[in-house]
């Protein structure tokens, strides 16, 4: 296993050089980069080098410092120590040095797809006026270059998370940068869309562009990588050619220990006649129709589907975010109307939305406030906030989630992406009467170590009688956890497979419309 702890940049440059023959000068050199945020030492003396036309994938747990390192390379953040050099003389002229696809998307919802793709580079007529026809054409060409089909005049705020992520990728690729930074660009993409990204990066690489790719998905990491670097606690703990790593050695370097198994063992089968905690009977509305499913105590019921086929709507109907227009929702065998998330929470149904920034977290508030918001009435009898009691309740949850933070009073907005996701999830563990958890892509951007922890916790909760409705774009996650997987196609459940013997191919073929 290659470990080059705090090696000099020259060493790394040699290690990261291209294979046999002339080794070109590195395009990117980071020299002992250092960054602190108050008490948090986010990046500690990281040195690395990357040759032109190569992909470096950067791995590490949530909060390891990956996004911070990327921000310094992109020039968005000033390092406290060390330097970044990007040598673009080493290659042909490009429009820009560095283009970034940010972990948290940075598009403008008020502008259209075309306007976002061309932002700051709008083609102009001689009068200085933006040439809207040329703008659309340019955007269409950029989309086509990556193979994305979207209406260029649609406002970005109307797009799904996956579509937004694609637009962000298209914008970065269109810049034709010398260095392309992709910070978890695939977190809401489905496999075919990841393929598009892969092909786009291959084309860029052929033209001499280097790529730095951050991801928590192991299979992608090996697919994209020429070289791999691993960060832990702000330090670079391992780096080298991708071929030198195995899945196990990579995970080991990341979490600093062996991870025996990602998915916990399945629970013993429950009696099929047990009364469901939550049942949907012929539920429809908002683009889905006739959805029937039941979640019994101890079950994890999965919902799969390609983007746009209604799986997120099912989660939102079950959680009261959307009101059902047809059919019945039964809680403990009794039909109830879920008119709002509040109704659902009162009935013990909690929801973890996929868009943590938009719909989930209150970013300017503290970790503590975000964790306790759902259980406030229990923690604070007589409406007076009781700090001590609050702390005693939160600390175990934070520990259980392996939350990485400076203090519970820290603003949630300062946490790394994965840690934000954990806070969103942890909120419901404080709810005493929780019976059903509705999860929509709950482990987006969560590292393997924490993911194993969350999966373990889910299993533990279901063993205590909780029911889970799990909507996920990660099919392996569904297969690893769910007892049954309902596969959506065009707003309806097209087929159902048993979790223990499902394969990705089974699910994909149903999701693509094959009947079953």
């Amino acid at each position: 296993m290659p470990t080059s702890r705090s090696s000099s940049p020259a060493d790394v440059a040699r290690a990261g050089a291209a294979p046999a023959g002339a080794s070109p000068a590195p395009l990117l050199v980071c020299d002992r980069l250092d960054k602190r945020f108050g008490a948090t030492h986010a990046v500690r003396g990281v040195s690395l080098a990357l040759a032109p036309g190569r992909t470096l994938t950067l791995m590490g747990e949530n909060g390891a410092g990956k996004s911070t390192l990327m921000a310094m390379i992109a020039g968005d953040l000033r390092p406290d120590g060390g330097a970044v050099r990007i040598d673009r003389d080493a290659r042909r002229e490009t429009a820009v040095e560095v283009a970034v696809v940010h972990q948290e998307l940075s598009l403008f919802g008020n502008l259209t797809v075309a306007e976002n793709v061309c932002i700051g580079r709008e083609p102009r007529r001689r009068s200085g006026r933006i040439d809207n026809r040329a703008l659309r054409a340019q955007a269409e060409a950029s989309l086509a270059r990556v193979g994305v089909e979207l209406e260029v005049d649609a406002p970005v705020e109307r797009l799904s998370p996956a579509e937004r992520q694609l637009v962000e990728i298209v914008r970065a690729v269109a810049l034709d940068p010398a260095l392309l930074i992709l910070d978890e660009p695939t977190s809401s993409l489905e496999p075919s869309q990841v393929d598009l990204l892969f092909e786009a990066t291959e084309r860029l690489k052929a033209g001499g562009t280097s790529v730095v790719f951050v991801s928590h998905r192991l299979d992608e990491v090996f697919r994209f990588a020429d070289e791999i670097a691993v960060m832990r606690g702000g330090e670079l703990v391992a780096s080298g050619p991708a071929g030198d790593f195995t899945r196990d050695s990579l995970v080991n370097a990341m979490v600093g220990r062996e991870l025996e198994q990602l998915y916990p063992p399945r629970a013993v089968a429950r009696a099929a006649d047990e009364r469901p905690l939550l049942a949907l009977e012929g539920v429809g509305g908002h683009g889905v129709r006739d959805v029937t499913l039941a979640i019994r105590p101890g079950e994890i019921v999965g919902v799969a589907g390609l983007e746009g086929h209604g799986q997120h709507t099912v989660a939102e109907l079950a959680a009261g975010v959307l009101r059902a227009q047809e059919g019945r929702v039964l809680v403990d065998g009794e039909a109830i109307r879920l008119r709002s998330p509040r109704d659902a929470i009162a009935a013990g149904i909690a929801f973890v939305p996929p868009d943590r920034r938009g719909a989930g977290l209150m970013l300017p508030l503290s970790i503590a406030e975000n964790l306790t918001v759902a259980a406030e009435h229990r923690l604070h009898a007589r409406r007076v906030l009781r700090r001590g009691r609050e702390r005693r309740a939160i600390v175990p949850v934070a520990e259980r989630l392996q939350l990485r933070f400076a203090s519970l009073d820290q603003r949630v907005g300062e946490l790394s992406g994965g840690n934000q996701q954990k806070v969103l999830f942890g909120r419901w563990l404080l709810l005493p009467h929780l019976r059903v958890l509705v999860l929509d892509d709950p482990t987006r951007g969560v590292d393997v170590g924490a993911r194993a922890e969350i999966y373990g916790m889910l299993r533990e909760l279901t063993q205590q009688g909780l029911g889970v409705l799990l909507v996920s774009t990660d099919m392996l996650e569904l297969i690893g956890l769910a007892d049954r997987i309902h596969v959506m196609y065009e707003g309806a459940v097209r087929g159902t497979v048993a979790g223990h013997d499902a394969t990705q191919e089974d699910i994909m073929s149903i999701a693509a419309g094959a009947s079953r």
Binding site: A74, D76, V96, V100, H102, S106, L107, F108, G109, N110, L111, T112, A114, E115, I119, G120, E122, R124, G128, R129, I130, D131, N132, R133, L135, E149, L150, E151, D153, A154, P155, E157, R158, L159, S160, E163, H286, G287, G308, H312, T313, E316, V321, L322, P353, D355, G358, A359
Partner: protein
């Protein structure tokens, strides 16, 4: 003949430009309807004196509201525009200090407007909240105006007053200037790179910066525009009062915000169209004008404006175009909107 003109494509306007005009259609319809009804029902309303007075009344608010709209588009606000207008009037009324030359007076007024606007912009860039910054400069500008001219009066150079009060047909010059200035400003905000940067900055400053847009320059110029348009608005006010008045502009600070919001510009920034202040100002001025004509006690005009503001914003909300304060209240439901509108893929 009509075969060729047909439904002409709106000269290749951008998609966001067109979307920004959408809320204006509603206000335009309402105000045009009000004009038609009033013209049929009331003879005094049709009179040429009333039309002139209505247009004279509209000009200052048009100008100042357009500048305000620009600042609101970058998610800022400018409370100092009212005092800036007052300052402009007292400067105009101190013409003797500038050798009674109209050109010199206009130049000084615009220069002061630009300096005031830049001061606001620099303050905001240095990290002071726009509300706080412009609250402070509002007091400063008012103080300066009072120092220049302690009470209403002074004398406006006739070389300035004569063209200002000139009327073509029944259309006063300040109104024409205001319309032309607004159309130009609208064009700059909607169809140029500067404008795009304005909308992007209003949507999210950090994203705009990371997309490489000149965020600081955009913010600075937005406040500069507000200062300049307030100064112009002050000159248009001189055409109505023939003198200087150190407090005359005060109500315009809030009226300009009201007009921008009625025009569908979201207080949260990045949404709406500067052009939409035209029908919004027409609607507000009509309310004043009609209530006056019908002899309604003038305090009711305030009540009427407040009701119009709430009703229009409620209308935008109901029409599903998020705007203004309601946008903030609704932002938690954005995910739902996005989902409902899924399938935009064409």
């Amino acid at each position: 003949m009509s075969a060729r003109s047909g439904p002409r494509r709106p000269a290749g306007l951008g998609a966001t430009t067109r979307a920004g005009l959408k809320p204006a259609i509603f206000v335009t319809l309402v105000s045009v309807l009000a004009v038609v009804v009033a013209a049929i029902a009331s003879a005094p309303f049709r009179s040429s004196t009333n039309v002139e007075s209505l247009l004279f009344q509209m000009a200052p608010l048009l100008l100042v509201a357009a500048g305000q709209a620009t600042v609101i588009l970058i998610a800022g606000i400018d409370l100092s525009v009212g005092s800036m207008m007052s300052l402009a009037t007292v400067l105009a009324a101190s013409g003797s200090a500038f050798g009674n030359s109209a050109v010199a007076v206009v130049a000084v007024v615009l220069l002061v407007g630009a300096i005031g606007g830049l001061a606001n912009g620099l303050g905001v860039l240095s990290g002071v909240n726009p509300l706080v910054m412009t609250l402070a400069t509002m007091a400063v500008f008012r103080g300066v105006a009072l120092l220049v001219l302690g009470q209403p009066g002074g004398s406006v150079p006739s070389g300035l007053l004569t063209p200002l009060t000139n009327v073509y047909g029944h259309v006063p010059l300040p109104f024409v200037v205001a319309l032309v200035a607004i159309v130009l400003l609208w064009f700059a905000t909607a169809e140029t790179r500067w404008g795009r940067s304005l909308y992007a900055t209003g949507a999210d400053e950090r994203h705009a910066a990371s997309a490489g847009l000149p965020v600081r320059r955009t913010i600075l110029t937005a406040y500069l525009v507000a200062g300049l348009f307030a100064a112009l608005g002050g000159l248009a006010l001189v055409a109505r009062i023939y003198s200087g008045d150190p407090l005359v502009g005060d109500p315009f600070a809030l009226d300009s915000i009201t007009a921008a919001l009625i025009g569908g510009i979201a207080v949260t920034g990045g949404r709406g169209s500067v052009l939409a202040v035209v029908p919004a100002v027409l609607l507000l001025s009509l309310t004043d004008n009609l209530l006056n004509l019908f002899g309604v006690f003038s305090y009711w005009q305030y009540v009427a404006k407040g009701v119009i503001l709430i009703v229009t914003l409620w209308g935008y909300h109901a029409a599903g175009s998020p705007s203004g304060l309601l946008a903030m209240a609704r932002s938690g439901w954005r995910a739902r909107d996005a989902r409902a509108a899924r399938g935009t893929k064409a």
